[in-house]
């Protein structure tokens, strides 16, 4: 009997079952590979700052034909400029034209069409063509600034800059 038992034990060696572990490991691998791919949906828009302006003592050249896109922050009741950060509406203005609201925000499609017109009728001699300045009030949500930048890129305007922030008088 003792001999038989010994023989049986030798045949039934303990083995490690690797299959479930390999399954889990492959699932983890596939998860990490897929999550890396998801990050690529983000895109970029060039928003280069003026190279030769800002810190210097010289006066920057001003093109009288430049387009200044104003993003104003108004009180929704009185429709006057407000400093209230939480309660306000965005008003889009170019020159004297105030853009109407579509679905609760200014009509950026109309801005794009106007920018095409401005670019085609530009008579200035700048290297990059029509200069365009996005002048946003400090309280304006960043999404609106990006909508303006997007309209400029779509209208193939190459010279886009941002107006410097307002400095308080001391």
């Amino acid at each position: 009997m003792a001999r038989k038992k010994k023989k049986m034990k030798a045949v039934e060696e303990a083995k490690l079952e690797l299959t479930p572990m390999i399954d889990c490991v492959f699932l983890l691998l596939i998860f990490f590979m897929c999550s890396m791919e998801f990050k690529k949906t983000d895109g970029i828009i060039k928003a280069f700052l003026p190279k030769n302006r800002g810190q210097g003592t010289g006066t920057p050249e001003i093109d009288l034909n430049e387009v200044r896109i104003k993003l104003l922050w108004y009180d929704p009741n009185s429709l006057r400029p407000t400093e209230d950060k939480d309660n306000g509406v965005v008003i889009l203005k170019v020159g004297t034209k105030v853009y109407p609201d579509v679905n609760g925000m200014p009509d950026y499609e109309l801005l794009y069409q106007d920018l095409i017109g401005f670019r085609e009728n530009y008579k200035g001699g700048g290297e990059k063509g029509l200069p365009c300045i996005i002048d946003g009030r400090k309280q304006v949500p960043f999404q609106h600034v990006v909508f303006c930048l997007n309209a400029c890129v779509k209208a193939k305007i190459q010279d886009v800059t941002f107006a410097a922030p307002e400095k308080p008088y001391n």
Partner: protein, 154 residues
């Protein structure tokens, strides 16, 4: 003959899984580390929409490239560290000085333009003032190659 048969059944061909498991574990560790590093630079921020944004290709991101995250509350974060407006200008000065600069322009000889790229990842609802602070710190240090990150998806 009978003896030989029993010997054959004992010497069964077995697949050695150890090298494959080694390789798979190495791959997992690689992806875990890389995803951890990428989240350090790319924080969970709801980006603004822009259908004209170019899809970001990894080959476009060279070594001299700073990603600046601006949260909804205005907190500025670079590589997992928070910066105030003044601290950001100091940090960018160090980074810009470490990088090669372009020839200075006669109208602004004090700050020659830097070759450094800076990408702003700002929350879509953050106030423009918070992004203006980053632009301001960039222009103080001659960093003019700035880019704004946006998303194409709704």
């Amino acid at each position: 003959m009978k003896l030989r048969k029993s010997e054959d059944s004992e010497n069964e061909v077995e697949l050695n899984m150890t090298p494959m498991i080694d390789v798979v574990f190495l791959l997992i560790i690689f992806f875990m580390v890389v995803s951890e590093l990428s989240t350090l630079n790319l924080e969970e921020i709801e980006l603004p929409l822009a259908d004209e944004s170019e899809v970001l290709k990894s080959e476009k991101l060279d070594a001299r490239h700073i990603i600046c995250n601006v949260r909804e509350d205005g907190t500025i974060r670079i590589q997992g560290n928070s910066y105030k407006k003044e601290q950001l200008a100091d940090y960018l000065k160090v980074e810009a000085d470490a990088e090669e600069r372009e020839p200075a322009n006669p109208s602004n000889p004090a700050v020659p333009p830097s070759k450094l790229y800076l990408t702003i990842r700002a929350h879509k609802d953050t106030k423009f003032e918070n992004v203006q602070n980053v632009f301001d710190a960039c222009s103080q240090n001659g960093i003019y190659k700035t880019r704004v990150m946006a998303t194409k998806d709704e």
